[in-house]
């Protein structure tokens, strides 16, 4: 798909500055529009990314607590605030609304400026929204540990917390809309579609599920319509938008089959929404509703394959680059995980399969494959690209980045494999009525232990990442002489002037 000439009329037009925000100084060096856009988004991006990293560490602490407590249930058993039933929703909230949502907003703000080739507007409003969101998170987490849960999965935090978060989201949308109106591009790249749509969908989702008008089985269908969509219409679009930007950027090639990406977007928008009730297979929800959800879940294969073709064919043209580029390595890991988790999700909800896996640890493995192996790893890769450009510094240590990658990559691999196997064992035993329940618990214990081990690995990765982020923001470490790669790439791979021949022995 490489065009014969790199200069297209559209691209050249986009580079010319329009009168207004950019000063005449930019006329002397047109290339620095990227630097100016990055500089304008610096403070809101850093605010959201740093907040996200703090919640990542907090959420990781809750994760370890929860996992260890299933291994040793009497550990810290006298403390009400740390009981499994409170720590588990605190972990979910800290990771979904704290870490992933906030770091994704930081990534989104940065991408928005780059994709629209304009400075982000109303950075003050964005900073205020970040503060408000953090206030909401603190209220929420403390509330959960104190026992003030709403009892509705995925929105357990007290309503007061969402009263902060939903308006914060609205403020972000306001800023993004203002920037959209001042865009300097003719064409809205596919990432803009995903980001714009998710900003529309998410407040609707949150408000709809928090309305106090439900009870009984309808409450369950709304609950799972929401929970499934917060994954597919909030976190997935940002992950996909990032992958659609960073893979072509680092690989240096346009997306393989770009016209397919429109099909991918619209089939996601139209099909994903309907799949949520597959969480209630075998339950008291009306059966035709469950069947509709199963059907749309299977139809999700279409957008998943589209995205897979685009991401993997683009990346695989220059796949060697994952050896060098931290961004590409994390993002490709995430993109491949997206394909895996979505194909698994499309083929999972059949009643015969669900008879075994429903209510087991298999579901937890699947959700972590999505939220972590896809969402979190792409967020890591995006941050590795974005932070140097907004801080004006470079990462302190390639070895620590490598440590981060291997601990988190192996950790999530172990987690998913262990919990999948444990879940299938659990489910099959549960369907055999002659097996006493406590025997089932005993059979899952080794797999729960393996999850704790995986969790420790991932914790090491997260602390390493937090340390690296801290170092780069504070401009610590040796003065940068070039981008940080895992190994020195040969000349010409990433621009001119990059080091000499590859010497794999010396540099890790």
């Amino acid at each position: 798909m490489t065009p014969s000439s790199p200069v297209l009329p559209e691209a050249a037009e986009a580079v010319l500055p329009t009168p207004g925000r950019l000063t005449d100084a930019v006329l002397e060096d047109v290339v620095t529009w990227r630097r100016r856009v990055d500089a304008a988004s610096r403070r809101p991006v850093l605010a959201y990314v740093l907040s996200g990293v703090v919640w990542l560490v907090v959420g990781t602490g809750f994760a370890l607590l929860a996992s260890f407590k299933l291994d040793e249930p009497d550990w810290l058993g006298q403390t009400a605030a740390l009981t499994f039933g409170r720590v588990r929703p605190a972990h979910l909230a800290a990771m979904v609304y704290g870490w992933l949502s906030m770091v994704d907003i930081g990534i989104m703000i940065w991408l928005w400026g780059r994709l629209l080739k304009t400075e982000v507007r109303h950075t003050g409003v964005l900073l205020a929204s970040c503060a408000l969101w953090n206030v909401g998170m603190v209220i929420g987490i403390i509330g959960l540990l104190a026992g003030a849960s709403t009892g509705v999965e995925w929105v357990e935090m007290p309503v007061a917390s969402f009263v902060c978060i939903v308006p914060a989201l609205g403020l972000v949308a306001f800023s993004m809309l203002a920037s959209l109106r001042r865009r300097r591009v003719q064409h809205l790249y596919i990432s803009v579609w995903y980001l714009g749509a998710c900003m529309l969908w998410t407040p609707i989702l949150l408000v709809a599920v928090l309305l106090p008008i439900y009870s009984g089985v309808p409450h369950a269908t709304v609950n799972w319509w929401f929970a499934h969509n917060i994954l597919g219409l909030w976190l997935t679009p940002i992950g996909l938008a990032s992958a659609y930007y960073f893979i072509p950027k680092v690989v240096g090639r346009p997306v393989y089959s770009y016209h397919l990406s429109y099909l991918g977007f619209w089939t996601l928008a139209l099909f994903y929404n309907w799949a949520g009730v597959h969480h209630l297979v075998g339950g008291p929800a009306p059966q035709w509703l469950v069947t509709v959800s199963i059907t749309f879940s299977v139809m999700m294969i279409i957008p998943v394959l589209v995205v897979a073709v685009n991401h993997h064919m683009t990346a695989f043209s220059r796949i060697r680059r994952v050896v060098y580029s931290p961004t590409l390595r994390f993002v490709v890991f995430g993109a491949m995980s997206y394909t895996a988790v979505s194909l698994q999700g499309a083929l999972m909800p059949f009643r015969s399969l669900m008879e075994v896996t429903h209510f087991t640890h298999y579901t937890i493995a699947h959700s972590h494959l999505g939220m972590y192996a896809f969402g979190t790893m792409i967020a890591f890769g995006s941050v590795y690209y974005i932070l140097p450009r907004v801080t004006g510094w470079e990462w302190a240590s390639r070895r620590l980045i490598a440590l981060h990658f291997w601990t988190t990559g192996l950790g999530i691999g172990m987690y998913v494999v262990g919990m999948t196997i444990g879940g299938v064992i659990e489910g099959r035993m549960m369907n055999d009525a002659s097996i006493p329940f406590l025997d089932i618990v005993a059979a899952t214990k080794p797999w729960l232990w393996s999850r704790s081990v995986a969790g420790v690995l991932m914790t090491v990765g997260h602390l390493t990442f937090a340390y690296l982020v801290w170092q780069i923001v504070r401009h610590r470490g040796p003065a940068p002489t070039g981008p940080v790669y895992f190994r020195t790439p040969p000349a010409g791979v990433f621009g001119q002037g990059d080091g000499g021949p590859v010497d794999s022995s010396a540099l890790l």
Binding site: V31, G252, P254, H259, P483, F494, G497
Partner: protein
């Protein structure tokens, strides 16, 4: 057992499919489906053509960020 909700669902799906197809036909007639792949190269431009990422700091020929405020 009332079939009304099922009919509502089927109605929504059929109506939605009809609306979608109409939109697609109209868009095609408006020429929106030509040059679909042109957008893929928006990420690149004169200064950063495909194949050679230039968007880096601190390489000898990279563009420096403006002084941080």
């Amino acid at each position: 057992m009332s079939y009304a909700p099922l009919l509502v669902i089927v109605g929504i799906l059929v109506g939605g499919a009809a609306a979608t197809l109409t939109v697609l036909f109209r868009a095609d007639r408006a020429g929106l489906f030509r040059h679909l792949s042109a957008g893929a190269t928006v990420l690149f431009d004169e200064a950063e053509p495909p194949g050679v990422p230039q968007d880096q700091l601190f390489a000898p020929d990279a563009t420096r960020p403006p002084q941080a405020t």
